[in-house]
């Protein structure tokens, strides 16, 4: 099952076999670093988005309301991502069922 935020990219782990050649150590390294980078990129992206939703005027510290907002924002963003993937999968399934019945 796809993990949250796994929208897929050219650097998906299976295709890392082409990089690093025959060296399994290098291959493993690329897989791990790619995974880490995907995580980092999403943190950058969500911080940016959630900042807009959760931050009013920057104060001397991050108050608990803002902190809660950020946490909720992350969860809802991932929910949104999963929702989109699931619904897309469903509409694709119903589309192919439709086109199959047409070709009869």
């Amino acid at each position: 099952r796809e993990g949250p935020g796994d929208t897929g990219s050219a650097m998906d782990a299976p295709s890392a076999a082409g990089l690093g050649g025959a060296d399994p150590q290098l291959q493993r390294f690329i897989e791990v670093e790619t995974q880490k980078q995907r995580f980092q990129q999403l943190v950058h992206q969500m911080t940016e988005l959630c900042w807009e939703k959760c931050m009013d005027k920057p104060g001397p510290k991050l108050d608990s309301r803002a902190e809660t907002c950020f946490v909720n924002c992350v969860e809802r963003f991932i929910d949104t991502s999963q929702f989109i993937l699931n619904r897309l999968e469903q509409t694709q399934k119903s589309k192919s069922a439709f086109s199959e019945s047409l070709s009869d």
Binding site: R1, G3, P4, G5, D23, Q25, L26, F29, E33, K36, Q37, F39, Q40, L42, V43, H44, M46, T47, E48, C50, W51, C54, M55, K57, P58, G59, P60, K61, L62, A66, E67, F70, V71, C73, V74, E75, I78
Partner: protein, 99 residues
């Protein structure tokens, strides 16, 4: 410069033959470059956000209140980044536990 890390006269500390690149060193260098890229990304986004929050109509210089605002904004952005990172990590752990 970086050129010294490559080329045929480079040999690893283990006394390997000339012309062999040390994958361990390459991995370390890649990690450093990744860290640098991430820091740059963070700074770029932080600058964007804090400029928007702190600078109204651009004057002839940054005044004291603007500078204070930027300093606070930087710290809050880091706090936010860390909060998001923790929250995302928790969510990933939860998802893995459910799989």
């Amino acid at each position: 410069g970086m050129e010294s890390g490559f080329g045929s006269d480079f040999s690893s500390g283990g006394g390997g033959g000339g012309g062999k690149l040390d994958p361990g060193l390459i991995m370390e260098q890649v990690k450093v470059q990744i860290a640098v890229a991430n820091a740059q990304e963070l700074l770029q986004r932080m600058t964007d956000k804090c400029f928007r929050k702190c600078i109204g109509k651009p004057g002839g210089a940054l005044d004291n209140s603007e500078q204070k605002c930027i300093a606070m904004c930087m710290d809050r952005y880091m706090d936010s980044w860390n909060t998001v990172s923790r929250a995302y990590n928790s969510r990933l752990q939860r998802e893995r536990a459910n799989m």
